[in-house]
């Protein structure tokens, strides 16, 4: 599903080139649950952003389902974001002005899904995540775990093939963190490909494979 070939990411300053990622080769198959681990500044988020088409590699090739994703244009990226990739973040990144229902609905609006269908899909997810009672609340009225639940709901409502999670539990205490990880695992078991970045060894255990990144280079890559 995802094939990275010799990916570099660097910034040129006046006298030297600073590498964030160097010669990264990575292949992720459909249905995998990959955890990227590594110390701060190792390039985990950058790698995730490149996979999510939010950032471009400085060199190397990236194939998303055999499509050369390092060559596609801005407009096509929007298409990928609409139909193939879902994101969740450490800081949840919900839209403060919209309530739970509207936040989850947003991606469908961009996919021009009809009102009735949107209603059904959102209701379905709210039900599944046990959040029906909270649908009219605003993000600042929710706990961190609940906010992340909403964020996940929003990420998966468009039925993406790939879910990218950047430290999804970083802002949560352990109980809520576990809940989120269990949910991700369940989604994976239902067929969703997931790539997550985390510091937490325990949470890495929920995945099927761990990739250890140190100073922009893959040090270890093993199945759990």
């Amino acid at each position: 599903m995802i094939k990275l070939k010799n990916i570099d990411k660097y910034y040129d300053s006046r006298f030297q080139r600073t590498f964030i990622l160097k010669g990264v080769d990575l292949e992720v198959k459909q249905g995998e649950f990959v955890t990227i681990m590594g110390p701060s500044g190792a390039g985990k988020s950058t790698l995730l952003n490149i996979i999510g088409l939010l950032d471009e590699p400085s060199a190397g090739e990236y194939y998303f389902w055999d499509e050369p994703a390092h060559q596609i244009k801005e407009k096509q990226k929007v298409q990928y974001h609409r139909s193939h990739i879902g994101f969740i973040f450490q800081a949840f990144h919900l839209i403060d002005e919209l309530n739970v229902y509207e936040n989850i609905e947003t991606p469908l609006v961009y996919r021009s899904v009809k009102g009735k269908e949107r209603k059904a899909l959102v209701a379905d997810l709210l039900d599944r995540f046990n959040m029906v009672a909270k649908k009219d609340l605003f993000p600042n009225q929710l706990s961190g775990g609940q906010q992340q639940l909403v964020a996940i709901a929003r990420a998966i409502i468009g039925n993406p093939k790939l879910l990218l999670a950047d430290e999804p539990t970083g802002n949560l205490h352990s109980e809520q963190g576990e809940m989120i990880m269990k949910l991700l695992k369940k989604l994976n078991e239902e067929g969703m490909t997931i790539i997550q970045v985390t510091h937490n060894e325990n949470y890495a255990g929920y995945g099927t494979r761990i990739v250890k990144l140190i100073d922009g280079v893959i040090e270890e890559d093993f199945q759990v």
Partner: protein, 776 residues
Amino acid sequence: MILINNLLRIIRKNKLDFFLNLTGLSAAMVIFIFISLYVENEMTYDNYHPDADRIFRLTTSLTSPAGQNTHMALANPPFAHILKNRCPEIGEYVCIGAEGGATLTFEGNEFKKTDLRAANSSIFNVFSYPAVLGNPSEFLKSPNTIVLTETLAKNIFGNSPPLGQKITIDKKDYEVTGVIKDLPTNTDLQFSALIPSDFDGTGELVDWGDYYVYLKTTTSDISELKNKIDLLTTEKYSDLQKTLGEFQLVHRLQPLQSIHFDNSLLADSPKGNKTMVYTFSVAGLLILIIAGINYNNLTIAQLEKRQKEFSIRKTIGCGKNRIIYNIIGESVLNIILAGAVSVLMVTLLFQSFNALFDKAFHLLSILRLLPAMLFVFIILGIFSGLYPAFNTIKSSLIKKSGFSRFGKSLVIFQNVVAIIMIAGLFIIWNQTHFMKNAELGFDKEQLIVVEIPPEPEKFPGKEVLRQEFSTLPGIENFAFGSGGTNLGSTANWMKAIMAVKDDEGNDVQFVLNQPQIDENYIGLLGIEIVEGRNFSGNNPGDADKSAIINETYARIMGWNEPLGKILDETPPQKIIGVVKDFHFNALNNPIEPLKFTMLSRQPSYIFLKAQPENLKLIQQKWESIYPDEPFEFQFMDQHMAGLYKKNEKEMAIFSYLTIIAIIISCLGLYGLASHFMIRRTKEVGIRKVNGATVREVVKLLNQGFVQWVLIAFVIATPIAYYAMNNWLENFAYKTDLRWWIFALAGLLALGIALLTVSFQSYKAATKNPIESLRYE
């Protein structure tokens, strides 16, 4: 010092904000300074004389039996002489002639001036005109002397001493006995040279001339004097009153300083336009307010970024007051800086300002306002710092992603002003265009009007002129007109104030224009005869017993069948024709009643229908007939267009004001939008990650702005409608206020706002989301 250092650092960090702020503020200040100068100048006409409050103009009011009042600025010099002898409260009086044109010749060089006046020597006792050269007590005392203004003296004599030199006017020599300082622009009594008046204070009361009489009293309380004037009028005019019939003559006193805006008098100097003074004041003030709003909005947005700084300052022991002082101090510095830029701009631009407003300000007279301006800037700075300062203190660290209600209403206010001004400009433009291109009722194209010198001894006779000119190639038609048949400037048409009874026996009063023409005139100008016939050279009765009137005359008199009516003149005139109403005046005024009679005097104008390229031929012919007289001519179409110069000038000024108001609004909106976008970057990032396209994001970000412009449109339209409706009342013939003008103004404002904002929202929408979504 710390304050200034800190400010410099902040400026360096926020170059765009600083630039927008400075540009907007200083542009508004330039406008404000200029408009203040203009308004001050207009409001202080003639009050530079130290005794201005004790100087009055004697005017004359005639009331017809039907109660119609004619108030003239002119008065009777012999009566002034009597007044002076009988009323001790009159210290001095002076009789000043109307402005006249003449050619001053000195050593063969000719200087054409239109502002010569004749006056008694007492003019220097009534008014204060500081002398530069010569002995003021001798000015105008002896005949054939002349007093010049400094500029004119310099023009004529250059650097050589003017005193004692002889200037020739109309073949008479005048000795220069004095030079006075140039008159300020804000006087209604303009002149560049004075010669002694031939009025010597005696003479019969019926000897009127074109004289303005000014009195200087010993006190500013004139109630007593008014009574005396009334008594003297009854006493002295008793004989005259008999000849006037039932007309009632009264002399009035008009305070010098009230003359400029009082346009109810006939034969008066050019008047100030109070509407314009008010309009420009309001526009200038609004522009300043808009700039102030921008300043507030931008400052608040900027301070928000500095919340962290203030919080840290507070934790290390900085008091609230100190933060407030700090912010206000920065604001004062900012405004003084903008003030300095604006003063610089004013010094660079004041020449164009003079040209635009027909003023003659000197740089010094502008710079004398500097201390006052500095004071205003400091006050302005304190006030514009107050709101942001308290806003900062109040709004701890809560981040809002929209505008505050205050910010919103300010943007709406700006747009209201912009829409009103745009709509106003469209309507002014439309009206001016309408007047310049209106169907006048006669054919003004290729019509050349040539002035005939008035001296009878030079006049070769109508037949000779006709022969000479109509045989020229390219001359299609030829006619004479008299009594100033110069269309468009009816000032020297023969006019009569008519007070007669119409057909139903009602009293009617009106001004009747009575130009004299020949039989070719109506045909040449293409004026349509709707009833009856034109004059004919073969019909001897037409010469003095026939008249042709216009429709308005017939309508006012209530004549359904005007043909054959006999007018009560000597000899009686029979109406032989009616012409369709045509615009001989500017369209600001309604068409007045008009009566053509056949030329009985020497004509004063030749009307030629000719291609402009034949002008040279006409001129050559002219010079062969009149070797000593200049060839004075006018194209009628140019002349008619020239009637609207004043309107066009006002339009130009208003356009500048509108454009500057819009630019300043845009600057503010641009700055505000940039902050607005910064606050929404996170949201934009999330939306993009969730599949929003750039276009969708731009649309979302622009939505709010569109809403506000729509609200502004709803508020502005009725105000603009009301204001412009009032403005159009000034014109006898006006365009309609069409709905699309307002719609267009709204659309334009929307377009401008969208353009301004879209640049920012596009920038925000194309920003890479990972920048905004990075964990904070």
